[in-house]
């Protein structure tokens, strides 16, 4: 299917998932007859996302409704639930349910390719009345407000005069399947795909406002969608894009010999076949197709083509892949259990060891393959961002371009699915807050008038690093600090470092933009990013230089299932420390240890002092070294914290399969004590995986 449908499918899936979440929240909340602040934040986020993606898909009615509901919860969020009086609460819950139903039915319509309900006024006025009630105003005042927002598609007169412009003599008329719906959007998708290989100045299309104006659908239905090219070669290469788009019934090529007065009424002149054939056209279908009469046959062979391409791809449920990874992990462990079984000690087994080596080779291969199955390139997610930058460029009138770097970097499927939102928020943020408002400002600062956002991905072997770099204004520390103090996030009496100030940007409820816009500026964006990334086991950091721009770095482990760990022992227990967190291991004598006033221990490493945490004492173990001379200090670092963990012995580095601890023990909050999970060692015993940052937090002022 065409790219348009892919995006549409994604939208439908996402929106449905969000609506499901929303429903669960509201159902719970209604039982309690109140929304907790968390609920409100969550609903707010959901509406924000629905609003954003609906706007992207140009479902104006959905956007408008979502925006109003977001406004409603904005009030509640600012003033807590107490702002809604008891008698208004049922109405509030009803309204949220109504809106869920509304979105569901509209999304169903989208799915079924039916036209959307254009009449949202009564629903909108319901929302407005409620907002007014909550604000304690007269409901009457809501009426004019209700009339205003429904920005019904203006009957923008499709320019009738067809552009038989002199500059674009090579035409292509595309006719869509009857009743396929959203012809304007489909046309726009076509334009987007043509832009990939054809400069914008080298072609034009008609009607020109397909993107903004849904009314153009009708024009397209009646007259077809006209594409005009400067060069014949471009038109030829555009044909494969047209044929591969969904719902294209037929297309005709034609030339404007002279600017005819009514070219679109004149049946398209069948293209000179010789010209088309001259093209390198890889697709056999393309040259055969130009005539309307042969369009049916063309469609048939075209289908055959796509089907052939699809046969090599099988889509598999992710849960099956999860199962596969789990089983392969088991096999790897079992294999080493068998081959290093104590029963084999002292036996001379030539053929056994030969087979065992073979088995090892195969299991390694199996592991690699099963890992690679889950890896997909980030390009799909990255491509989505192009659209966002484009839209915002237009709406905000700030020219900017998006440069993608390393979009072929492969990461685990689950990660790809979840990094879309954080990246989208960061890009919006860069567009909205980063890039200067006017070109003059940029020119004055000695920058290219067109802003640039670089979205890059690279993998370091153990983690993938995604950077969003803009060359905008950068972060103004003073403004951020003032705002943080105003929001109650920062305290006015404390001196904050540059880095700490930047961290305020990631705090919930923080937003430096005073203006509420469709894209960002309500302080939802940044903490969504942080939370989303942390859920994936990654972290976000911001660097910025005033006037030069801002860089957001997202680091995410490549796969969540396997990592490199260092095994250490403390008494009879074995712990795994993620290799990424280890700076070095040190041998010290008790003379090097400095005792501080609160009976803590500190050691000096490379001209800096670091606190020591004794694993034995911290975890209250029965056995293990007590003398610094007998054990070893592991210098660990994670984020801001750096310290030394005192353990007995280093056992060696190992790739481990991360297993979650059973929920039964997780209930005891052991994650907060730096116990992150566990892993099975080659001999079947269990090693506990440490979380370096949480361990430090628990030991020091946790």
């Amino acid at each position: 299917m065409g790219s348009g449908n892919e995006i549409l499918d994604m939208y439908i899936y996402e929106t449905n998932t969000l609506l499901e979440q929303l429903e669960t929240i509201v159902l719970e909340a209604e039982k309690a007859n109140t929304f907790s602040q968390d609920n409100v934040n969550e609903i707010f986020r959901i509406m924000h996302t629905i609003k954003g993606s609906s706007a992207m898909m140009e479902f104006d009615t959905l956007t408008t409704i979502a925006h109003r509901i977001e406004d409603l919860f904005f009030i509640i969020r600012e003033n807590t639930m107490s702002v809604v009086s008891e008698e208004n609460r049922p109405a509030l819950f009803d309204l949220v349910f109504q809106s869920i139903d509304y979105f569901r039915s509209e999304v169903d319509k989208v799915e079924a390719n039916e036209p959307l309900d254009k009449d949202i006024d009564s629903f909108l006025s319901n929302i407005n009345t409620l907002i007014a009630k909550i604000k304690g105003e007269e409901p009457v005042q809501a009426a004019p407000a209700a009339a205003a927002p429904p920005s019904a598609p203006a009957p923008a007169a499709a320019p009738a005069a067809p552009a038989g412009e002199d500059g674009f003599p090579y035409g292509l008329r595309v006719i869509f399947d009857e009743g396929c719906g959203m012809e304007n959007l489909r046309s726009f998708m076509l334009v987007t795909s043509i832009r990939d290989f054809c400069a914008e100045s080298d072609f034009s299309f008609e009607p020109a406002d397909v993107e903004q104006n849904p009314a153009t659908s009708e024009v397209i239905v009646e007259q077809g969608f006209l594409l005009m090219f400067k060069n014949e070669a471009d038109r030829t290469s555009a044909i494969p894009s047209v044929t591969s788009s969904g719902s294209v019934k037929e297309y005709q090529t034609f030339e404007y010999a002279a600017p005819a007065s009514q070219p679109e009424e004149e049946p398209a002149v069948p293209a000179a076949p010789a010209e088309t054939q001259a093209a390198p056209a890889a697709q056999a279908a393309a040259p055969a197709a130009p005539r309307a009469s042969s369009s049916a046959a063309a469609a048939g062979s075209n289908n055959a083509n796509t089907q052939h391409a699809k046969e090599t791809l099988v889509s598999v449920n992710l849960s099956k892949l999860d199962l596969l990874s789990a089983v392969v992990g088991e096999i790897v462990i079992t294999e080493s259990m068998v081959t290093s079984s104590p029963d084999l000690k002292g036996l001379n087994l030539d053929s056994f060891s030969k087979s065992a080596r073979q088995l090892r080779k195969l299991t390694d291969e199996l592991q690699d393959v099963s890992m690679s199955l889950r890896m997909v390139p980030v390009s799909g997610t990255f491509q989505k961002m192009n659209r966002i930058v484009r839209d915002m460029t237009k709406k905000l009138n700030r020219p900017a371009k998006l440069t993608l770097v390393g979009e072929n970097t492969e990461v685990d499927k689950t990660i790809v699915d979840s990094i879309g939102d954080p990246i989208m928020h960061m890009i919006r943020n860069s567009m909205d807050h980063g890039i200067e408002e006017t070109q003059e400002e940029r020119i004055a600062a000695g920058k290219d008038p067109v802003g640039e956002i670089i979205l890059s991905a690279r993998d370091t072997g153990s983690e993938v690093i995604i950077e969003i770099i803009d060359d905008g204004r950068g972060v103004n520390d003073d403004a951020v600090l003032k705002k943080a103090i105003r929001q109650g996030i920062a305290s006015p009496d404390v001196e904050y470092s540059h880095r700490e100030i930047l961290n305020f940007l990631l705090a919930p409820g923080f937003s430096t933009n005073t203006q509420v816009t469709e894209f960002s500026g309500r302080g939802v964006g940044m903490d969504v990013v942080k939370r989303g990334v942390e859920e994936l086991g990654g972290n976000v950091s911001i660097t910025s230089e005033l006037g030069k721009g801002m860089t957001t770095t997202i680091r995410i482990p490549l796969t969540m299932a396997i990592m490199d760990g260092m095994e250490v022992s403390v008494g009879g227990s074995i712990f795994t420390i993620p290799i990424n967190n280890i700076r070095s291991s040190l041998k010290h004598t008790s003379k090097d240890i400095i005792h501080d006033s609160s009976s803590g221990e500190i050691v000096k490493v490379q001209d800096s002092f670091y606190p020591i945490i004794r694993a034995r004492d911290f975890f209250r173990l029965d056995d293990g070294c007590t003398e610094i001379e007998d054990g070893i200090l592991m210098w660990l670092e994670s984020g801001d914290c750096s310290y030394c963990l005192f353990v007995d012995e280093l056992l060696g580095e190992q790739q481990v399969v991360v297993k979650q601890l059973p929920s039964y023990v997780n209930n005891y909050n052991i994650k907060n004590y730096g116990i992150n999970g566990c892993t099975l060692l080659g001999d079947g015993s269990i090693s506990i995986i440490l979380d370096v940052a949480n361990l430090y937090k628990a030991a020091h002022g946790g």
Binding site: L661, N667, I670
Partner: protein
């Protein structure tokens, strides 16, 4: 006429539901194990398997009665020492009964496994209010006269929240 049918149907429904409910209610299979001279019984449906000589990995920062975790064919299972849970002194016992209570896997460390028995549901009596015991939801005299069985309350084994 129609009334008759209605009544008949109602009766049948009643019969049906009562037989359905009573048939398995008559007898329930229990696995009986020993902990510090106490005979405890656990509903056999919960029992996944019995493991011997498992090496239990100590897990820090959890209550004492959680002795640690074990690896049962790749599955990580927490182990609760019934002795410690009941406030008795621990021993070197290493017999684990793995239970699956509504999807939560849990191993319990016991002294010895006694036998499997079918016990009529009506024979299980409530624990006297004056001497309510931890982890016990009922008690019954064993039909072979070998003593009294306490019914292990698996719900109480679950974490408090």
């Amino acid at each position: 006429m129609s009334e008759e049918i209605l009544f008949a149907a109602e009766d049948q429904v009643f019969d049906f539901s009562s037989t359905q409910a009573e048939e398995p209610a008559d007898f329930q299979k229990f696995l009986i194990f020993m902990t510090d001279d106490l005979k405890l019984g656990v509903v056999a449906e919960y029992v996944v398997e019995i493991l011997n000589n498992q090496s239990i990995t100590y897990l820090p920062m959890v209550p004492d009665f959680i002795r640690g975790i074990i690896n049962m064919r790749g599955q990580i299972i927490p182990i609760v020492d019934i002795r410690l849970r009941l406030g008795k002194a621990p021993t070197d016992n290493s017999l684990v009964i793995v239970l699956n209570v509504d999807g939560v896997f849990l191993g319990i460390l016991v002294d010895a496994v006694d036998q499997m028995l079918d016990i009529a549901r009506e024979d299980i009596l409530p624990v006297p209010v004056q001497s309510t015991q931890l982890l016990v939801s009922g008690m019954c005299s064993l039909p072979d006269g070998s003593g009294t069985m306490m019914v292990l309350d698996c719900a109480q084994l679950m974490p408090d929240d």
